[in-house]
Symmetry: C2
Subunit: 280 residues, 2 copies
């Protein structure tokens, strides 16, 4: 990030609030959002705020009432870029008990480094199947918490720059997501995406795709073997829009895919909603 703010002030001014005692560092006790700034606006801001509100309620962290204004303030001088928000439970007594920690910390960072023209990977990427699994935990499922070590370890599995994303399964062998994205597949002429009631992060771009008019998607458990019969597949997240999968090597075989009518329809729908990255 190019600059950070903390609790409504520039980080330099608020410096004393930054401490290793923050439960966000100690325990990953908090949430984050990564929001695309496009043409001076925070894209899908209401969806990001809705997920943040849901998460803060489920974790019992009081969401500061100035959060929406703060995000606008942080983003105001940026035409295209990325805003990252970190909401932690703040500091409290030593130990896991959150009862004493009643003043959350809100970090907001902005960077202006992103390209919004379609990247080569928007045409289609090679993905891998990760060995690192996503934990099953219904209490935390769907939330974008600061506990992301599984994604870090999954992403560390490959260093080949030609591989752009990794498919993650839960401990039951169901496909859950990419390391930094959600995933969709067309199986038997039906668009599907994993059910995230017990694992994974419910992405904002995923929700945009699910709500897009014209294509109904089935939200359900997808075993890997079934995923590998897909005729189309794509990853989605807030910053990339969607990335079609064209190649998925696994256990010595290779699933070769071509973006087809479902991918094209979603891409068109996303472009109409302001996801310029999906234009070709």
């Amino acid at each position: 990030m190019d600059s950070w703010r903390l609790n409504g002030n520039s980080l330099e001014t608020a410096g004393s609030g930054l401490t290793p005692e923050d439960r966000g560092l100690a325990y990953g006790d908090g949430l984050f959002e990564t929001i695309a700034i496009r043409n001076g606006r925070l894209r899908f801001i209401e969806r990001h705020l809705a997920r943040l509100r849901d998460g803060s309620e489920r974790l019992g962290i009081a969401l500061p009432d100035y959060v929406s204004d703060e995000l606008q303030t942080a983003a105001q001088d940026t035409e295209h870029g990325t805003l990252k928000l970190i909401l932690t439970r703040g500091t409290g007594e030593r130990g896991y008990n959150p009862a004493g920690a009643t003043t959350p910390n809100l970090y907001v960072g902005v960077s202006a480094a992103i390209s919004v023209s379609p990247a080569p990977e928007a045409i289609g990427i090679t993905a891998t199947v990760c060995k690192t699994t996503v934990s099953v935990n219904p209490l935390l499922a769907g939330l974008k918490t600061l506990n992301r070590l599984e994604q870090v370890m999954a992403r560390a599995e490959w260093s080949d720059a030609g591989v752009r994303e990794g498919l993650m399964l839960d401990t039951n062998g169901h496909v859950i997501s990419g390391t930094m994205s959600n995933v969709f597949a067309v199986i038997d002429n039906q668009l599907c995406t994993p059910d995230l009631q017990s694992a994974g992060i419910a992405g904002v771009m995923r929700s945009v795709i699910l709500d897009a008019a014209g294509i109904d998607a089935s939200v359900r458990n997808i075993p890997l073997a079934e995923f590998l019969t897909a005729s189309e597949a794509f990853f989605s997240n807030s910053l990339i829009g969607l990335w079609p999968v064209v190649s998925l090597p696994h256990n010595g075989t290779q699933l070769a895919l071509t973006p087809g009518p479902y991918t094209d329809a979603e891409r068109t729908a996303l472009v109409s909603l302001g996801v310029e990255e999906c234009s070709r």
Copy 2:
């Protein structure tokens, strides 16, 4: 903590190293240790360092070679207290990929607030059975990582000050640990503790107990129903030594226990190893 150091310097001097970009905050990408300082010494320091070394190898974080000296420096003016160490992967490029983050951050905090005389809870505590589960993930099992939101949510389940610990199960219904401790039970005249190959943290006090001469413990899966047939049970961690369980209410019934010969033997063994909290 009363004071913190970062990367071998006081936090004030090293202030510029403290940043919201630390992957410890962003993703919980790191490890921690909580070490008792007793009579001016870091108790069981070699075991803590061994776990930290194992963890840093498994996560691929380079452990700074000055870590041992740094801990001694931080603790040197403290007779009785607690040292907390946080090792993170440091900062790097945006995103989960750890490849660019090659300079770890080492935070060390010391507080001198702890009493070492036996607390009332050393005589026996009431515990509860938590609804929040411990995730199954063999890749991270055993490690004391910064991803501890499950423990936070489990500890948030009760506010009754008379309840001192909560028993946590994994998603398969096996007993794994307390929220901040490991757990032992005597079942059919055999001391047992959960196998932590797929979930939980392998505690230092647990390893001391397992290595203590005289009592062999069985390390295995323990379903809750079996745990509830125990004749003795206790929780252990580095700061408390062991806490016998005398009461464990569950689903309307109440398991009442009395510390017996196994608990007494372990208490005696721990006192001889310097765990004064276990003397009565």
